[in-house]
Every structure is written in structure tokens, then in C-alpha cells.
Homo-oligomer: 495 residues x 2
């Protein structure tokens, strides 16, 4: 049948959806969630049907079309398109199979991932897949297959180099900006590390947010490749690339329930690593209250899973379990973290001690994993000699930033508020979740200069009147809001 296009002027951000008037749908025996093929000229797309009950939304004889379909078929308002009923995607049968607790084959997993990447599945359908992976867990074999399928259905970075290093942190610890220190150390040692990072989703800053204070982070794959070929490294935003893109759509449906389908999380992480052809990977699992992984036991299980999957993908993998019960570094928020990093690389006395220690630990593990001799003091030597800083300047320059930026001139929010201790004591704990929350409420990560600066860490002695931490914001309103949160719980726990 033929229908006229009504451009709904909205993007769905996911699967292709069209809206039919109830009357037309009945007439042609088409139902909610059915799929139809829409043809305009020689182009055809498949979309999921929604039904409008009112004439106002989509009148009879019209088909409501969203941006994704408008672009894909190059449609204009009132264009005529022909539609016919399409089959359901094959992967629905496979998803049902997994929901019934059965194991999936290579072909089935491949089909599911292809359908996700190509917008063939609705959010409801992807949700069933995630629920199935969550309740029935993927076997080790299925996890590998999912990893490979996710990497395959996306772009890949191919480099004629060996080894290719990568790192990943499970996250949840505020300020933990190790990538921006470890990458220049590794690259300065002559190793290749094409690092892609994420932006913050629920934290005050992701590595990409923080690096963006110093340089650009959004590049097409080709440009990323040339940056790596020039400097041995990159610190770019993975979201701008099309590496294992199924991941984003899966994360979107995981969010409402805060589900981490562990096997599928492993696959997502490893698929991104596989996409950049990495051969040697270090995984950092911080453990502690407020970190993503809360217990040693859980960390050990995850470690084993990573080692398993790494082995089966023929990758050299090292999993390090680190302390995650308090923030790493002093600054929390994009600019404050970038400043910490530059101080550290420039060997400035303001550099946070615990961040330096952790970066040296991670870099040393990488050197060891890559089979380098004298790996023990290498990371510190590279830092102390200024070679890491020099490398960071090269990377910043290659990513269109100012390599000579002075950390003391990085713009920090001009509205601030400092909390002082009311007694002499020792810092017993710092509440990760509250630090994140206050930094976000103060404006991080979208307000780059907003966040928190910690004057003290766990174990530090304090006297009455000692500065504990300072909140920075770019507007007075935001600062007040952050101060309001302060009233509800304690950031610092004293002995």
C-alpha cells in the first residue's frame, strides 16, 4: 500500500520506528511491534510499527517517520512511500532461546549483534537479550563469541606494530585519572598505546572529559591512526569512533535498572580492546566502598574472568586489584584532574602522591607484561627524566591542543567554598559517592572547572581549622546547590 510521509521531526536515537494511523493499520492487518518494509524509489528500510489512535498525530493515509528513517531513505514531507509487512528479525528467535536458558551458537550471537548494530531491534527486544544474559549468564565460550561479534560489527584500528598496549579501569573511584599519566610513560618507552576513553556517565569526569581540557578528543578513526603513528599513543574519546558500537545500545537499556550483566560487560570491554588490535592489556580493578567492585572476593572472580577471556582471545592480560576506598588524586572534575596530571608529569610538588604511586605501579606492570627488561624503576625514571611530560606535550599537540599550557593557568571555577575541620583528628574515610555527587552537582563534568579539591587523604593528621576540601563551581547557584548537599551527609569521616 502507499502512504504519504509525515516527518515527525524527532530522532529516536535507536531502532527505526514508524507510526501508522489505527485505521490504516487495521485495514492492512498491521499491529504494534510488527515490522514493515518502507520503499522509496530503489531504497528500502525496515522499521518497527507504532500505532497512533488519533487523526491528529498521524492522519489516515499518512506514515509518521522519524529522523533516522528520513535520512536513510532521503524522505521529504508528503513523499509517497510503499510499505509491506516484513518478517521479524531472526535474532528474536535466538534471544528467546537464551531467555529459555539455552546456549547460543556463533551464528546466533553474530546475528543478534548485527541486528543491534543495524537498528533492527527495538529497545524492548534488546532488553530481553540483556535480561537473558543477566539471568542465565553467558558461558565462557558465548562471552568470547559475543566479544568477537561486537568487535567485528564495527570499525577496527589496524596498526603494523607489536606489541600494542591497552589499559582499562573498572571505575567508580573519583579522580582516578591514571590514563593521562600512564599513556605518556608507556609511549615514551617506545611502546604503542592507542588509548580510547569514555566520557563520564555518572561520575564527575571521564578521561575523555579531562583530556578535553588540554586537547581535542573527538577524531575519526583515520585521524586517530595518524596520531598514534606519530606519537605511539592517543588519548581520545571512544564515543566519536565506531568501535564495537553494539555496546552503546546495550548500555542504554541497562541503565534504568542499573544492571551489569557481567558476562556481557566483559564482552563489551574486551570488544573495544579487540577493535584497536591490542595485544597486551592491563585491567585495573579498584576495590572499596563506593567503587564499582566493592569486595575483594568479587574482584578476584572478575580477575579470573578477564584472564580467561584474555587467554581465549590470545591476548596477554594482567589484572591488578587496587585500592578504591577513597579518591585517587586531589582534584575531582575535568579541569582539576587535568591540572593534577600536568603537575605530576612536570614533577611539580603540588602533584598528588597517591596518583603518582598508582600510575607507576600500572606502568611497571605493563612493562613487565610486555617483557621489558629492568621494568622495576623504568616508569619512575621516565617520569623523573621529563620524557613522560615531553611525550604528553607531543600527544596534546597531535590532538590540536596547546602543548605548553601551564597547569597553574588551567581555568578552575571561580566560585568556591572550603570546608575546615572542627577538631584535631585523623582522616578515617572519605565517601566516594558523596564526593562524586557534590562534584556533579557543582557542575562537573559539563562545567569543566567545577569539582572538588581534596586537601587531605585517608590517614592524614589534621588539626582544628585544617582545610579538608574545597568545592569549585562556575556559578554561584551551582555552588549553593552543592553546599546544600553537604548538609545531608559527611564527606570526611574522622577518627
Amino acid at each position: 500500500m502507499e502512504l504519504k510521509v509525515k516527518d515527525m521531526d524527532i530522532a529516536t536515537g535507536g531502532s527505526l520506528i514508524v507510526i501508522l494511523n489505527e485505521y490504516d493499520a487495521k485495514k492492512f492487518d498491521i499491529h504494534v511491534s510488527d515490522r514493515i518494509k518502507i520503499t522509496k524509489g530503489k531504497k528500502t528500510e525496515t522499521a518497527v510499527v507504532d500505532i497512533a489512535e488519533s487523526q491528529r498525530a498521524v492522519p489516515r493515509g499518512k506514515i509518521g517517520v522519524f529522523e533516522e528513517t528520513v535520512h536513510s531513505l532521503n524522505l521529504k514531507h508528503n513523499d509517497k512511500v510503499s510499505i509491506k509487512l516484513a518478517r521479524k528479525p531472526l535474532s528474536l528467535i535466538h534471544i528467546k532461546k537464551k531467555l529459555d536458558g539455552e546456549k547460543l551458537t556463533k551464528k546466533e550471537i553474530d546475528q543478534i549483534v548485527w541486528d543491534i548494530v543495524n537498528n533492527k531491534l527495538s529497545e524492548t527486544e534488546i532488553t530481553y537479550f540483556v535480561a537473558a544474559c543477566y539471568t542465565h549468564r553467558l558461558s565462557s565460550k558465548e562471552t568470547i563469541l559475543l566479544t568477537k561479534a561486537m568487535a567485528k560489527h564495527g570499525d577496527t584500528l589496524k596498526l603494523k606494530r607489536y606489541p600494542i598496549i591497552d589499559k582499562h579501569c573498572i571505575g567508580g573511584v573519583p579522580g582516578n585519572r591514571t590514563t593521562m599519566v600512564v599513556v605518556p610513560i608507556i609511549a615514551a618507552a617506545g611502546l604503542t598505546i592507542p588509548k580510547t576513553s569514555s566520557r563520564s556517565i555518572t561520575s564527575p569526569a571521564g578521561t575523555a572529559d579531562s583530556m578535553e581540557v588540554l586537547a581535542d578528543v573527538s577524531f575519526p578513526l583515520k585521524k586517530m591512526k595518524s596520531i598514534v603513528n606519530k606519537t605511539n599513543a592517543s588519548i581520545v574519546w571512544g564515543g566519536a569512533l565506531n568501535l564495537a558500537p553494539a555496546d552503546d545500545k546495550i548500555i542504554r537499556v541497562e541503565k534504568p535498572l542499573g544492571i551489569d550483566a557481567e558476562s556481557q560487560l566483559l564482552a563489551s570491554i574486551m570488544a573495544k580492546k579487540h577493535s584497536v588490535s591490542s595485544t597486551h592489556i592491563i585491567i585495573d580493578i579498584p576495590v572499596g566502598k563506593g567503587a564499582k567492585v566493592q569486595t575483594k572476593k568479587e574482584a578476584l572472580r572478575l580477575k579470573k574472568d578477564f584472564e580467561d577471556i584474555g587467554k581465549k582471545l590470545n591476548k596477554h592480560i594482567k589484572v591488578v586489584i587496587t585500592k578504591g576506598e577513597e579518591p585517587i588524586g586531589n582534584g575531582i572534575g575535568p579541569a582539576l584532574e587535568a591540572r593534577d596530571v600536568l603537575w605530576l608529569l612536570k614533577r611539580d610538588s603540588n602533584a598528588p602522591n597517591n596518583l603518582e604511586k598508582k600510575c607507576i605501579q600500572l606502568a611497571s606492570e605493563i612493562f613487565k607484561l610486555a617483557g621489558m627488561k629492568n621494568y622495576k624503576n623504568k616508569a619512575k625514571d621516565i617520569l623523573d627524566s621529563g620524557r613522560a611530560y615531553k611525550k604528553m606535550k607531543e600527544i596534546i599537540k597531535a590532538q590540536n591542543g596547546n602543548p605548553n599550557i601551564d597547569p597553574n593557568k588551567i581555568k578552575i571555577g571561580k566560585f568556591n567554598y572550603t570546608i575546615e575541620s572542627k577538631k584535631s583528628s585523623i582522616v578515617k574515610a572519605i565517601n566516594n559517592n558523596l564526593v562524586s555527587k557534590i562534584a556533579r552537582v557543582a557542575g562537573a563534568p559539563s562545567a569543566k572547572g567545577a569539582g572538588i579539591f581534596l586537601h587531605k587523604h585517608v590517614g592524614n593528621k589534621i588539626t582544628k581549622g585544617s582545610k579538608l576540601f574545597t568545592i569549585y563551581a562556575e556559578s554561584k547557584e551551582r555552588l549553593n546547590y552543592a553546599k546544600y548537599i553537604l548538609k545531608q551527609a559527611k564527606v570526611f569521616v574522622l577518627k
Copy 2:
């Protein structure tokens, strides 16, 4: 913060959704799937956030609002509304709990159903609930709790009568129009049977579609009550009432994967029965290829589940397992089925034998369940005496139809095509699924006169040239389409 309303002019048909521009969302740290409270004057609604990346869809400073929210808050284009972040619905925690395989309490199930009914959960979130019920099954106790919660959060029909009869058929068998015969028999015997029925979803006709050929079927609850008080009975469309409305939303997300979360299906059926205060219920489970329940074993398990739940709800319940391997009755399609029913009630020789037998069986079981004496011949006596037909005329009249309609004058599609046997033989089987498909393709149920008329049933002898079945359609195009389907598989299997 304050935003101006952009009326998106679409209904979502489900949960409340608003769209913010990416810039505003970042500024206020609001993310996809977050919930916000929108206030206009003294009214507040909670909605789930979606993010528009383009200025075109929703410009900065605006909030894209769908019909449901427009109505609920009485919004006009460019109205100012204030928004703030809202908490997630409590039921998300309970859904996660069930997904983790734990048992839910009364309070938790109640909260989930309340949130579903009140559009507090997105489709993705309801999907997790359905997936959890499907993979972990509900315990017998949970099923009861879900049943009660579904009935509670909706309207209920209260009648000062006892007993109150109800019936339900698990379905999947074309033509199986027993309700329209059984209800007048039961009501003619002086028992009360406030029957609500569904329209077809995937079959050629639901009882409501077929009854609509003879009378109105959409009534508000108050009017249904007066129909029942007047005639002892009703044959109305349940969809026009607000009985256990959580059900529709659950069915919507079950559709894409064709999932029947059995425990949840039981709860849905029993909740509808509970909503009309029924005390004595007969459940018909047809078994056979092409019916919903395909094996005797499965039917027996379902029977036990129904008996269990019925007992726990203090209802008298009788489950009858019937033959479902071929269509019941001769007509398939709304008008053809209504004609069969009237022929049967009027004791016309055209009446289908197998439909009569089945209706007598079901009615007798009801009489027995209700403790009536001499139940054995009662149903047939009521039919033969014309009392059932008289009662049906009362019901048709109470539902605004013409009680004196002549079955031979019911409008059947004027385009038809008859298939004849090419050899002498015996009918071995009739393909239920294909019969349904052809009837639908011919236009049923929206074209009331479309469908199939079976001249023969399983076991009948045929000679070369015997009429097997006739397809009826209201347009030539539809008839041709149905004929095209015919080529692909055989409706009749001969010995």
C-alpha cells in the same frame, strides 16, 4: 529550572515521556531514562527523559511533551513549566530483585502493578519485569498476589448476586465461538454471567468482534452492570472497561518475542475474572496442533495451575480439556461466526454440529459446578425449548442490537472462492494456523464479512468435486491475496 512546552503532537500509548535538548540536559545533569517532575501551576507529573541531539527536534530551553502529559497537565504550546529531578520508582528495585531470582512480597508486587497502571514505568522497565517472571517463574503465592494486585488497581464490577459465573478459553482454535451460545444458555437457566471478551489480536475474530455483528459491545462499567441486572448476562468487550488494566501494558511488551510468561498469564486471566466478582469459573483448554496449548501434558500442567490459583482465590473452578486440532464451527470470521451462533440458537439445520456439542458440554459443566440438579440434559433442553435463543435476543436488545436479525441476512463478503476436492477421500486434518491466516488475509476481523466457511470437518467423507471450503472477502484485492496464500500450503489434509 523553567522550560517552554513544545507539543510533539504524538501519543506514546504508554509511559509518560518528555524530550529535553542535549544542552539543557547536560546543564542540569539529567540523563536518558532519568525521571523528572514537571509542574504547571498546582499540577505535577513525573515523566521519563529522552534526549534530543538536534535543535530541530527540541530546541534549547524547550521541553518536548507527548499527548498523555499534555492532557494530564492541561498544557498549551509555549506554556512555561518547571522541572526537577525525580526519584526512580520504587518498583525498579523490586523488579531487579525478581530478576535476581528472589521472591517478591505483597507490598512489592502491589507497587509494581501500581507503577505499571499509572504509567510510571517505561517499556524497557516493564520488559525486565516480564523477563524476570518468565525466567524465574512466579511462585504460586506470588501469582495470587499478582492476580489480586492486578484486579485491585483497576475497576471492579460488584453485583449483589450469587453465584456469579464466568468462562474463559485459552484459545488458538479458529471459529470457537462458544461464549455466544453458552452465555444465553446459562442466563436462561437463571444464573448470572457477566461476560467480558476480547477482540482478536492474532486470530480472525474474537468474541467481541463477532458479537459486534449483532449488537454494541463497548460500554462503560455502569452500563454493563445494568445490562447484567436486566438480563443476567452480558457479552461485551473487556477492552472498553478498566478491568485489571496492567494486563494490556504487559501484553504489549510480550508481543515482540511472543513470550507467554505462564504464571503472569494465569494472573492476567484470573485478575479479569476477579474484577467481575465471579465465584464459579469454567476454563476451556483446547489441545491440538495450531491451538495455543499443543500437548496434553502441557494442558494438564496448566489445568493444575488454574485449579491451584482458583482454590487460593476461594473460587469454584473447573478446567475442561477439549479437542483443538481443527476449527470449531463452520464459519471463521466475525459475521460467519455470528451466523453460526444464531443458526444454532434458532435450531436451524445449518448449525454446526461440533460447536453445539461443545457448547452443551461447557454449559453442563457449569451447571454441575454451580450445584444444579439434573444438570445433564439441562443445556440441551434450554437450547431445544428456544429459551436460549430468547435470552440471546434479550441480550442483543440490551446491548442496542436488533434482536430479530435473521441469520441468513447477516452480510457476508460478496467476493468468494470455493475450493473443491480433486479426489474422493476422507478429511484427515485441517490446518488451524492456515485457516486463521487466510481468513485474516481475506480481511477478518476488520472486514466483518470476510473469512472462511468450512463445508467439511475432520473425518468427513468426500468425493471428487466436493466443496471443501469457501473464502469470503469484501474486496476483490483481498480475495486474490488470500488465494495467493492458498498456493503455499494445504488447508485440508486428505487420507
